[in-house]
């Protein structure tokens, strides 16, 4: 039965979103939300903030399936990323944050490990004059200064992330909240002298090896995973889904892999999204898919806290719902329709 698969659409919101945005999800029957929030550059939220946030979303029939937020891009937390004198103090604060989220009833915290933050160059024009974000490493290499005056050691960063995982996972376990890290976006060797640690299949296998725990998992940005040079996206989906390491999925598409790519509409990128969805299904993933970044369409009202307006986002949402419906129902019929007269569909 289709519902046995439990694959669901979700929308990503900024924490200060509007009532209209929340009501939109309610009207379109979307029940899961990911909220960009958590410890950041300024003051971190407290327990009450997380409770109030969750209840606000619930009043629109939305369940917050995850808080998503990177603390690593902010210098404030860099002692944790690179090792430094205030590392343990910072880790304690982050443990508190994880505790607050857990007690407030949040099941997942997704974050990233990108001291250089998310990287993009100038956007490009895609179909019909819509705009997609883009990245070219050559462009970036020439322009980005060294973050700390000299290249940072990749080995040291691996040591630090291992230290972090071993410190945070027991707390996550105790509190019952699953944690996952978003891959390096774009997944290139280094930017501004800072190595991009989590930029490959192997990197994530290594990350998972630091702790076997159910609570040490992956914020599976399929978009970024599909940017990883030389990797097979379907293989990675299957591998991690089978091991129950996928917390939730950023279901977006791109034109190709790093070092040079741009974002695309959900069904105009190089990834066959239905094949991807079949892979999640067959590997036993049961969870949500968010629309993530959407192209900028003309005359589209901003969707607060996210890239891509209402129309663009709802197009992606309709597609996601359609792909989920198609892929979960086709089992009743033994697979997609094979029309001998059709002009050779790709599998």
């Amino acid at each position: 039965m289709a519902s046995d698969f439990n694959l669901r659409p979700a929308i990503a919101y900024g924490a200060n979103t509007t009532d209209e945005a929340l009501r939109t999800a309610a009207q379109y029957g979307i029940e899961d939300a990911v909220v960009y929030y958590g410890p950041g550059a300024g003051q971190s939220p407290d327990f009450q903030d997380y409770v109030a946030l969750r209840l606000r979303f619930e009043s629109y029939g939305l369940k917050i399936i995850a808080i998503e937020g990177g603390f690593s891009p902010h210098r404030k937390w860099h002692d944790v990323v690179f090792g430094g004198p205030r590392r343990d103090e910072m880790i304690e604060q982050l443990q508190d944050q994880v505790r607050f989220m857990a007690r407030a009833g949040i099941p997942i915290y997704g974050y990233n490990w990108m001291p250089n933050s998310w990287g993009r160059a100038n956007p490009v024009t895609i179909r019909g004059g819509a705009m997609g974000t883009a990245y070219q490493w050559d462009f970036d290499k020439e322009r980005r200064p060294l973050m700390y005056g000299e290249p940072m050691s990749e080995d040291n960063m691996w040591d630090c992330i291992e230290y972090w995982i071993k410190a945070i996972t027991p707390v996550a376990e105790e509190e019952g909240i699953r944690l996952g890290i978003h891959p390096e976006d774009p997944p290139v060797e280094d930017r501004g002298g800072v190595p991009g640690l989590l930029r490959s299949f192997d990197a994530f296998k290594k990350l998972m090896s630091f702790s076997d725990s159910h609570y040490n998992a992956i914020e599976f940005c399929q978009g970024t995973f599909s940017e990883m040079p030389g990797e097979d996206i379907y293989e990675m989906i299957e591998y991690f889904a089978k091991r129950d390491k996928i917390l939730y999925v950023h279901f977006r598409n791109v034109s190709g892999q790093a070092p040079s790519f741009n974002e695309e509409f959900i069904n105009t990128g190089y990834v066959d999204m239905k094949k991807a969805m079949r892979t999640y299904r067959d590997a036993g993933y049961k969870g949500s898919f968010i629309d993530d970044h959407c192209p900028i369409m003309e005359d589209d009202a901003d969707f607060p806290g996210n890239l891509g307006g209402y129309r663009s986002r709802l197009f992606a949402q309709g597609y996601i719902q359609g792909v989920i419906d198609g892929v979960t129902r086709e089992g009743d019929y033994g697979g997609p329709v094979s029309t001998s007269a059709s002009n050779g569909g790709t599998a």
Binding site: F47, Q48, V51, A52, L55, R56, S59, F100, R103, G105
Partner: protein, 412 residues
């Protein structure tokens, strides 16, 4: 009874950091809407008045002068930063140092000619579970459901006991009350909001009728009184079945009500949500009559209001609405009181009439600034200890009087 507004002394800044209204504009707003009095808030944060450990006389005097320059009266200061007194509440190592500083602050407030200081006893402040609960027509209110906070982590590292918290409170009340009395200032404790037994490991203490009786019995003095947040009192379980009126009557008769936060909530106990002034469980008309009955001549201010369409973040239109409602209730009750007195005077002609000749509380016959004419009804309100500060209580600014421990208070 007089009507007032409650403002943040440093002006209102939105959570996003934008300055929305400064104090002068607030005071203009209050004067335009017919308030006579103002209570100035600090919301337990820094910034309202300079000082990271205590407040100084000149700063407080400046505040009072600023209020008076708008033709308004500064009736009370409400709250100091929690960091001024958290060790006093929790019995921490800096307790004695903080007590010394608080004594200084209380004296400074008194000498700046401000008659009331209200404060709370909440180391972890006010708790709410939601700020987006939908009320009438899509307006938004805050709400509280303790079930959501049952797993709150400890706010101060451990679970505190009721005994130790009461101990700390009693210690403080016994020290500060005689000093306050001597300085001619009245102190009042605001109830914990919400008044649940405990949250985050800290017992909330003043959560009901018995608890407040216990507070005022620690030291029997006009300076050990209550900052009567009627809103929070009506959240108490004791407010049920008419209990809210009983509590106002009890404390009002004993002259323990310093001033009133006049707001309404959906129901006693939790979970509850805030309501419009006239859509909650308390009959606000009946309430005004009870205040009248016990002769409360102090100030009523509006408090939290629902957030309605087009309103500022502070809530100008919501508060103007509440203020108008309170004024109307006061006018009606004043009319009724005057009419009753007139009827009585007619039926017993020897009692000198002139009762309620001015039912307009702002009319020229008002003998107290914008208050109900006093002494003209046959019902004698117990109000002698509530008289507004006469000239004798307003000190001339003389730096020689500032040092702590100064006992020459020059009161009458």
């Amino acid at each position: 009874m007089r009507i007032g507004f409650n403002f943040l002394a440093s002006g209102f800044t939105t959570p996003a950091g934008q300055s929305e209204t400064n104090l002068d504009d607030f005071l203009t707003f209050a004067a335009q809407y017919g308030a006579s009095d103002v209570v100035l808030q600090s919301y337990n944060t820094f910034g309202a008045v300079p000082g990271t450990e205590r407040w100084e006389f000149e700063d407080l005097l400046k505040l009072r002068m600023q209020v008076e320059s708008h033709g308004l009266h500064l009736e009370a200061l409400e709250n100091v930063p929690t960091a001024f007194y958290d060790h006093i509440m929790l019995g921490g190592p800096k307790r004695d140092e903080q007590i010394e500083n608080m004594i200084h602050t209380v004296r400074s407030i008194a000498r700046a000619g401000i008659p009331i200081f209200g404060y709370n006893w909440m180391p972890s402040n006010v708790w709410r579970t939601s700020f987006h609960t939908l009320n009438r027509g899509g307006s938004k209110v805050s709400s509280y459901d303790h079930h959501e906070h049952m797993n709150a982590p400890f706010t101060h590292g451990r679970e505190f006991t009721e005994e130790e918290m009461w101990c700390n409170l009693e210690h403080w009340i016994k020290i500060i009350t005689p000093i306050a009395e001597e300085e001619g200032i009245r102190l009042g404790v605001h109830p914990p909001d919400p008044p649940v037994k405990s949250v985050g490991g800290i017992p909330r203490l003043l959560t009901g009728f018995e608890e407040y009786k216990r507070l005022i019995e620690i030291v029997d003095s006009p300076s050990n009184a209550i900052e009567f947040c009627q809103g929070t009192f009506s959240e108490m379980e004791d407010a049920a079945d008419g209990g809210i009126y009983d509590m106002v009557r009890y404390f009002g008769e004993r002259g323990k009500i310093l001033y009133v936060h006049f707001r309404n909530v959906s129901n006693p106990g939790e979970p509850f949500q805030e309501e419009f002034i006239n859509t909650g469980h308390v009959n606000m008309y009946k309430m005004i009559k009870v205040y009248q009955e016990v002769g409360f001549p102090g100030v009523l201010v509006n408090d939290h209001v629902p957030n309605t369409i087009g309103d500022s973040q502070w809530g100008h239109q919501g508060r103007a609405y509440a203020n108008g409602y309170i004024q109307a209730l006061m006018d009606v009750v004043a009319e009724e009181t005057a009419a009753e007195a007139e009827a009585e005077a007619k039926s017993s002609p020897d009692v000198s009439a002139a009762a309620g000749s001015s039912s307009d509380i702002y009319g020229p016959d008002a003998t107290v600034s914008r208050g109900i004419p006093l002494g003209e009804s046959s019902h004698e309100p117990k109000r002698s200890i509530f008289a507004p500060p006469g000239p004798a209580m307003i000190k001339t600014p003389n730096p020689a009087m500032l040092p702590e421990g100064e006992t020459d208070a020059q009161t009458n």
